[in-house]
């Protein structure tokens, strides 16, 4: 009987309303994951363009903004779809509340997506001169090829706050103690580096070896640092009673513990070793495999971190 199993010092809820379960679910995980790719390819692409001659990475100029464009649209779609009143999204632009990181993020992400669309258009149309030859927009893009290089530095600059603002939303979500950590900022940035490098690996087949090795290096560093930061949270997050209670969902086994360790081992540790081996020997298949599991691992890690704080009763 229950009266024999409950410690004297503990209290037990005997009547209450049902408490909400997970409110921000897989759509928000997918949203964050896609944003990491969307901003990450730009940040890593800029790094590669700084390090190497662009002629050695011939498809980067048009594929980088195109991939970012697709990922950002997935991000925006799921942001919209997750709203309970999606048609009122317009209120963020008509009645913005600037103290909210959601508002600031929505404005920045919209501007960023607009600029990326422009880059994708200019890059794509100049790469494919025969495509839509009589289309006015396509011809305008072809005749303004130099605009790409003028816009690109601003896009790279904007990619950083667009990557980071989700951490500020999490900081403003003050009911979820686990997210109240400055390390969230670094996690977001590392996620962008990881996702960006992993995604660009799929288009790097024809690039020179040094550029591909740089991608492997970024992937290795971001997975290693990401793993260490998660381990830091795992071992040192006894900063508050709520964070400690939240981490019990990982510490004490169960589905979220399995998902977490799957992410850590197959999503961070394994890609790290595979990427390091690819730096030594330029093995495209190994590197691609590392990229795939790193992307899956990133999704799983974000999923666990998003959901477990929502399982705690708040009142």
């Amino acid at each position: 009987m229950v009266e024999h199993t409950i410690e004297a010092t503990k209290a037990v809820v005997t009547l209450d309303a049902a408490i909400p379960g997970i409110i921000w679910g897989w759509m928000i995980t997918l949203n964050m994951w896609a944003k990491s790719i969307g901003t990450g390819v730009i940040l890593i692409g800029a790094f590669l363009l700084y390090r190497h001659n662009k002629e050695t990475m011939p498809n980067l100029r048009w594929l980088m903004p195109l991939i970012s464009f697709v990922a950002l649209n997935v991000f925006l779609l799921f942001t919209l779809v997750d709203l309970h009143q999606p048609l009122r999204m317009i209120n963020i632009f008509l009645h913005p509340h600037w103290s909210s990181a959601i508002t600031v993020g929505a404005w920045m992400a919209s501007l960023f997506t607009g600029l990326i669309t422009l880059l994708a258009l200019i890059g794509g149309m100049n790469e494919h001169q025969d495509f839509q030859r009589h289309c006015k927009v396509a011809n305008w893009a072809r005749s303004n090829n130099e605009l790409y290089e003028k816009i690109f530095p601003y896009v790279v600059f904007l990619a950083i706050p667009v990557t980071l603002y989700t951490a500020v939303i999490m900081a403003q979500s003050s009911a979820r103690e686990l997210w109240q950590a400055p390390t969230e900022m670094m996690q977001m940035l590392l996620a962008a580096f990881l996702a960006g490098s992993a995604t660009l690996i799929f288009i790097a087949d024809d690039w020179k070896v040094e550029a591909r090795k740089d991608l492997a290096l970024v992937l290795a560093v971001s997975t290693a640092l990401g793993f260490m930061m998660y381990m830091g949270e795992y071992f040192f997050s006894y900063k508050s009673a709520e964070a400690e209670e939240t981490l019990k969902y990982i510490h004490s086994g169960g589905a979220y513990s399995g998902e977490f360790w799957m992410a850590m081992i197959f999503g961070f540790l394994a890609p790290f070793f595979l990427a390091v081996s690819s730096i030594k020997e330029d093995n495209k298949t190994t590197l691609r495999f590392a990229a795939i599991i790193a992307l899956v691992g990133l999704y799983l890690a974000k999923d666990v971190w998003l959901k477990i704080p929502q399982l705690l009763p708040l009142s």
């Binding site: 009547l15 909400p20 309970h84 399982l311």
Partner: protein, 253 residues
């Protein structure tokens, strides 16, 4: 003017009159609560006590929900009430992530966030909140905490010695305007008591499967999923369901 609320837990007898009055006054849908009374049993049988804790929005002076709301749907009124404009709310649930007291819910009928407003519409007409009127033992005390002569201010002053007046989660620095007298860690701290599946008096769930309309998304609307049913079943429902099934197998209608 700064309106505040105080609940004297020594007086509360858990009748849930306030809960029902709130539901009726504000037409709060099924599975949702602006105000709920939680029963917490403390001690080991036979030395046990049952405690009742009414829980509602704390109308914080430094409200995280107001800060995170992207469209100012959550806003302060001049009298200190944290109000919500459901016509502006986009249903992002950011406020539900921010409120440390779990006081905000997603209304399954309007698909917008909602919460206790201290019955702002009644106060505007010079009336007391519905829960205050309904309480048979005057455990709910409501008034202007800025006015030193108000009932609530005098009550706070009378009980403030020896830690007699508490707020929930003061470490969150939200400066709540909802006070408790006679509370303790075991009644006010949600981590200090256990929620054991299956041992509740009337309901056997501790989590809702869905918050708001389960088919709320654009995709669902285009696919035409319609409204799903809630799994917030009670033990009573199960018995009724079993009886209905039995009735049907016996050829009943």
């Amino acid at each position: 003017m700064k309106l505040g609320f105080l609940v004297d837990l020594n007086l509360c007898m858990g009748c849930k009159g306030c809960e029902i009055a709130c539901k009726v006054e504000n037409e709060v849908p099924l599975s949702s609560w602006r105000l709920r009374v939680k029963y917490i049993d403390v001690g080991t049988f036979p030395q046990t006590t049952r405690n009742f804790t009414p829980l509602r929005c704390n109308h914080c002076e430094n409200a995280p929900c107001v800060r995170i709301c992207p469209v100012s749907a959550l806003h302060y009124l001049e009298n200190g009430i944290v109000n919500i404009d459901s016509n502006r709310c986009i249903g992002c649930a950011g406020c539900m992530m921010a409120c440390p007291y779990g006081a905000i819910y997603m209304d399954p009928e309007t698909n917008t966030a909602d919460k206790c407003t201290y019955c702002a519409h009644r106060i505007e007409s010079g009336m007391m909140p519905a829960c205050v009127v309904a309480c048979p033992v005057e455990a709910n005390i409501f008034g202007d905490v800025d006015d030193a002569t108000s009932h609530i201010s005098r009550y706070i002053m009378e009980h403030q010695n020896n830690g007699g007046v508490q707020v929930r989660k003061p470490e969150k620095h939200t400066d709540p305007k909802h006070y408790y007298v006679g509370g303790g860690n075991q009644t006010l701290n949600p981590l200090a008591h256990e929620r054991i599946e299956g041992y509740n008096l009337f309901n056997n769930v501790t989590h809702l499967d869905h918050v708001g309309d389960p088919n709320h998304s654009i995709l669902d609307r285009f696919i035409g999923g319609g409204h799903g049913h809630y799994s917030n079943k009670s033990l009573a429902d199960e018995k009724i369901g079993a009886k209905t099934k039995e009735h049907e197998t016996q050829g009943g209608h």
